[in-house]
C-alpha cells in the first residue's frame, strides 16, 4: 500500500514537539529546585515551587504521551492515530478560542519607554498568529487522519517482526473486537476522555486558588 508522506512528517513533528515539551518540563523542575531556596511570596500556603513541580509532572505526561504517539505513528499503529486525533481536538479547542480572545481582548499598555509605541499591537498579532497556527495544525490533523486513504494505511497492519524484548511498538496487533461488542465512536471516546481529564484537573486548580 502507498504510504503517504503526511504520516511520517506528522510523526516527526510530533516527536520534535514532544521532545521540546519534555525539555520545558525538565526546565520547570530545574526552576522549582531554585525557587524553593529563595524567599517565598508572603502568605503563600502553597509555594511557587510546588505549583511548578505539579505543572512539570503534567507537562511530562503530555510530552510522554506525544512521544509515544509519534513513535506509534511511524509504525502505523491504530492507537497512535486515535491518540493524535484526540490531541488535535484538544489543540483546536484550546488554540482557537485563545486566538479569538487575543484578537479582541483589550491588552494592558506597555509602560516601559524603551519599548516601541506599537509593542502591544505587535504582541497581539504575534500571539494571535501563534495560536492560529496551532489551531490550523490541529484542524489539518483532524482532517488528514480521518481521510479514507490514511485510515486504510493504519488498518493494514504489517507483519510483526520478531522481538525478543517484547517491544511495545513492534508487538503484535490488538485483535479486532468481537462482533457482538458495540464499537465506540471516536467522537464519544474523545468527549469521554476530555470530560474525565478536565474533571480530574479541576480539583488541582481549586487547591492552588
Amino acid at each position: 500500500m502507498h504510504r503517504s508522506t503526511g504520516v511520517p512528517a506528522s510523526a516527526v513533528l510530533v516527536i520534535v514537539g514532544s521532545a521540546f515539551t519534555l525539555l520545558c518540563a525538565a526546565m520547570m523542575l530545574f526552576g522549582s529546585a531554585f525557587e524553593s531556596k529563595s524567599n517565598p511570596a508572603a502568605n503563600a500556603p502553597v509555594g511557587l515551587g510546588t505549583i511548578l513541580t505539579v505543572e512539570a509532572i503534567v507537562v511530562f505526561g503530555f510530552g510522554g504521551w506525544g512521544l509515544a504517539s509519534g513513535i506509534g505513528l511511524l509504525y502505523l499503529k491504530q492507537w497512535a492515530r486515535i491518540s493524535l486525533l484526540i490531541y488535535a481536538g484538544i489543540l483546536v479547542f484550546v488554540s482557537l478560542p485563545a486566538a479569538v480572545v487575543l484578537a479582541i481582548v483589550p491588552l494592558p499598555h506597555a509602560t516601559d519607554p524603551n519599548l516601541p509605541p506599537n509593542f502591544t499591537l505587535i504582541m497581539r498579532v504575534g500571539m494571535g498568529l501563534f495560536y492560529a497556527a496551532f489551531a490550523t495544525l490541529g484542524g489539518f490533523w483532524l482532517y488528514f487522519f480521518n481521510k479514507r486513504s490514511v485510515k486504510a494505511q493504519f488498518q493494514a497492519m504489517p507483519p510483526a517482526p520478531e522481538s525478543a524484548a517484547g517491544d511495545f511498538f513492534l508487538g503484535s496487533a490488538i485483535p479486532a473486537p468481537v462482533a457482538s461488542q458495540p464499537a465506540r465512536p471516536l467522537s464519544i471516546t474523545i468527549i469521554g476522555w476530555f470530560l474525565l481529564i478536565s474533571s480530574a484537573v479541576s480539583p488541582l486548580l481549586l487547591l492552588t486558588s
Binding site: 508572603a42 480572545v101 465506540r184 464519544i188 468527549i191 476522555w193 481549586l206
Partner: protein, 109 residues
C-alpha cells in the same frame, strides 16, 4: 462553592465513565450535565445580579492569586460574555455528537 464544584466534577467523572462504557445512563447523564452548563451560563449572563456576583468572585480569585505572587499579574478587562462565548460552541458540539451517536449506546444500566 468548593463543595458544588467538587460534586459537579464527581458527577461528570461518573457520567464520562458511563459514556466510555457505552452505557445509556452515561449518555443521558452527560447530556443532562452539558444542558445544565448551558442553563447556568445563560442565567449568569442574563441576570444582572448574577453577573455582578460572578465579577466579584473573579476579582476575589485574582486578588488571592496576586497575593501569592512576587509581582501581581497584569489586569485583563475580560468581558463576562467572552468566556461563555468560547465555551458555548464546545458544549453545543459535544451535545451534537452525543445526540447523533446515541445509536452506539446499549440500553443496559
Amino acid at each position: 462553592m468548593y463543595l458544588i464544584v467538587v460534586l459537579w466534577m464527581a458527577a461528570q467523572v461518573v457520567a464520562a465513565a458511563g459514556l466510555l462504557k457505552l452505557k445509556r445512563w452515561g449518555l443521558l447523564a452527560t447530556i443532562g450535565l452539558q444542558s445544565l452548563t448551558i442553563v447556568n451560563g445563560t442565567l449568569l449572563l442574563s441576570i444582572p445580579g448574577h453577573r455582578a456576583r460572578f465579577l466579584q468572585i473573579m476579582e476575589t480569585v485574582m486578588a488571592t492569586v496576586n497575593a501569592r505572587m512576587p509581582q501581581p499579574a497584569p489586569q485583563f478587562n475580560l468581558p463576562v460574555w467572552l468566556g461563555f462565548a468560547a465555551s458555548f460552541p464546545i458544549v453545543l458540539l459535544i451535545l451534537w455528537f452525543l445526540i447523533t451517536r446515541k445509536g452506539a449506546f446499549s440500553s443496559a444500566a
